[in-house]
Symmetry: C2
Subunit: 330 residues, 2 copies
C-alpha cells in the first residue's frame, strides 16, 4: 500500500495542499476549525510527511550534524537526549557522527553530508572549528559548541571552574587532610578538553580561600585500573579521617571500593566527593556534583535553531552550573 501523501490528506480534509502544509509547519494563518479538520485527516490516514520532498522543496536539509566523542559515558547519552529533544520539536533530524579518531573525522569531512545533509553543526566537547577552516571546508553552516567554550561562536558550556569551587567550598568544611585526584586526558592535540584543569582551578581557589591547603594531589587516567592504583596509593599515604575530591565519579567509585575493602567507612573515615552524578551514584551514597547536561544540550540546540531562523548578532554563551548533591559519602 502506497504511503499517504500530502495530496491524500488535502483530499480527505477537503482542503488544498497549501493548507495542509501550513498546518504541518505551524504557519499561524490557519483557522482553528480548518486546522482541526486537517489534523484529523492526518491522524486518520496515519500520514507522515516525506522528509526528502520537504528538503528539496524547502532548499534546506532540515538536518543537524552532531559531532561528538565516543559515546562511552552517560554524559553523552544525556547530552544527546537534550539535543535531540530540541531538534525534534523543530522538526529537524539529527545525524550523529561519533568521532573516534582522526580518520573518522576525515571521512566525515569528505562525505557529502556537510555539503547537503546539514543546515547546522553541533560540536560537543571538542572545538573543531579551527580544523574545519584550515581544511577550507566550506562549512558556512551555523555552528554551536556544546560542552565547550570559545569566544567566537555560540556555545553552551558547563562551568567547571565553579563546579570545582563548589567541591572545594564543601570540602573545606569536612574533617582531616584534603586530597584530590585529577584526570589526565592524554589525547590527540586535536581532541583536547580543559575540563579537568578547570575543575582543579576552581577547587584550589576555594581551598585557598578557606585558608586550607591540599595535602596531596594525584593524577589518574580515565579508566578503572589506573583509578584503583591511585586509590591505593592515596589511602596508603593518608591519615584518617581525611577528605578526598575525586574529580570524576569513575574515580570516586573506585575509591569507594577501595575504602570499603579496607574496612573503612565512607563519610566517616574517608569523606569522598565525586563529580558527575552517574546513575549509580545515588545508590552508593556518593556525594557529588550533578550537571544539568540535558539542559545544556537543549539550550545549545536552541542557540543553533535561532541562527537557522535568521538570527544575526555576536556569539552568545550559555553557562551552566553543576549542583552539589550531598549524600552519605561526605
Amino acid at each position: 500500500m502506497r504511503k499517504p501523501t500530502i495530496q491524500d490528506v488535502a483530499r480527505q480534509a477537503g482542503v488544498g495542499v497549501g493548507t495542509v502544509s501550513r498546518v504541518l509547519n505551524n504557519h499561524a494563518a490557519v483557522k482553528g476549525v480548518t486546522r482541526e479538520t486537517v489534523l484529523k485527516a492526518i491522524a486518520d490516514l496515519d500520514y507522515t510527511p516525506n522528509p526528502h520532498a520537504r528538503r528539496i522543496a524547502g532548499g534546506k536539509s532540515y538536518t543537524i550534524s552532531v559531532l561528538l566523542p565516543v559515546l562511552t559515558t552517560e554524559f553523552y547519552v544525556r547530552l544527546l537526549d537534550g539535543l535531540e529533544h530540541a531538534f525534534q520539536e523543530a522538526r529537524y533530524d539529527v545525524a550523529i557522527f561519533p568521532l573516534l579518531d582522526r580518520s573518522r573525522l576525515e571521512r566525515y569531512l569528505r562525505s557529502h553530508t556537510l555539503a547537503y545533509q546539514a543546515d547546522g553543526l553541533v560540536m560537543a566537547t571538542y572545538n573543531l572549528t579551527q580544523l574545519l577552516t584550515e581544511r577550507q571546508v566550506r562549512t558556512q553552516q551555523p555552528t554551536v559548541l556544546v560542552d565547550a567554550h570559545a569566544e567566537d561562536s555560540d556555545c553552551a558550556y558547563m562551568d567547571n571552574v565553579t563546579g570545582g569551587r563548589m567541591a572545594g567550598e564543601y570540602a573545606v568544611t569536612l574533617p582531616g587532610n584534603l586530597h584530590a585526584i585529577w584526570v589526565e586526558t592524554e589525547l590527540d592535540q586535536l581532541f583536547t578538553t580543559r575540563v579537568f584543569e578547570e575543575r582543579r582551578a576552581g577547587f584550589m581557589e576555594a581551598v585557598q580561600a578557606g585558608g586550607r591547603q591540599v595535602k596531596a594531589e594525584y593524577t589518574s587516567s580515565f579508566d578503572t585500573l589506573a583509578a584503583r592504583n591511585v586509590a591505593t596509593a592515596l589511602l596508603d599515604g593518608a591519615e584518617f579521617p581525611c577528605t578526598v575530591f575525586a574529580s570524576a565519579d569513575l574515580l570516586a567509585g573506585v575509591l569507594l571500593d577501595e575504602v570499603q575493602a579496607r574496612g573503612l567507612t565512607p563519610g566517616k573515615d574517608v569523606y569522598v566527593i565525586g563529580f558527575d552524578d552517574q546513575p549509580w551514584a545515588a545508590a552508593r551514597g556518593l556525594t557529588t556534583l550533578h550537571q544539568p547536561v540535558e539542559q545544556m544540550g537543549y539550550e545549545g540546540a536552541q542557540l543553533l535553531l535561532t541562527r537557522l531562523s535568521g538570527h544575526r548578532g555576536p556569539p552568545r554563551a550559555r553557562r551552566f552550573e553543576p549542583r552539589l548533591v550531598v549524600r552519605t559519602s561526605a
Copy 2:
C-alpha cells in the same frame, strides 16, 4: 553562489540531463567520449548531486540505518568501517543509531527515520527483529544481522565457537595447568549476546579433545576493575608455569599487567592467550585471536545491497573465522 545542479552540468557538457544522470549512475549506455565530457563538466563545476532530490525522484531513501550497541570498543569502529565502505561504494548513506538503552530504541522506532530514511536495516550484535515485529513496526525493509546469527535472516557473523576452539587447540600445547576467564554479559534481556558462551563451548571442546581439562574457570564483567580482581584471584591460586585463556583482550591486558607486577614473565611463567587483537595487542606481545571485523561488516553490507537490488531467496549466512596470532605472551 548557487550550488551547481544537474542542469548546469548538462549545459556545460553540451548534453541532456538524462545523459548526465546516466553517467552519475553508471548506466552503461553512454559512449566513452560523452562520458568523458560529462565527467569533465562535473569536475569543472565541482558538482555534487543533491541526495535529497535523488531520493524523492527515485522513491528510495538511499540510506541504511545501522543499529549498534554503544561504540565503546575498537570492534564497532572497525565494523562501522567495513559497513560504511560497502555502502559508500553503492552510494548509500549510513545513519547510525547507537543503541544505548531501551529508551533510545523507542525513540528510534518513533522517528520517521524508519519509515522514510531507511531502505534497509543493519542490526549489529543484537537481534532486534522480534521486537520490531512485536511492535508492529512496519519495517518491511530488508534487514541484515551483523555479528549475530539467526536462521531467518541474512547474516554475517563471527564463528566464536571456532575461535574458542582455536584458542583451546593452541592452549593444550602449552605448559602447566589450564585456566580460563570468561565474560559475564549482564544485560537487559533485550540486549543480549551469546558470544562468550560460544567461545567457551569451542574452547572446552578443544581442551577435551586434547585430553586435558581446565583447572579453574573465572568470570569477570567487562571492565578493568573486575578484570583485575579476577586476575589477582587467578594468579593467587595458580602454580607456574600455567596457561590462561582470557576470552577478551581487555581481560588479557589486565592479566598481563598483574603478571608483570608480580615479577613474572608472560610466555614463560604465565602463558596468556587473548581474544580480539586490539590495537595495543601487538605492542604488548599478546598472543590473541584476530577477527576479520571489517570484512564481516563489508560482506554483511553486500548481503543487504543484493536484497535492495531485488535479490529474492532464502536467508544467507556468511561465516567468518578468527585467526590465531602468536606473539610472545604464549
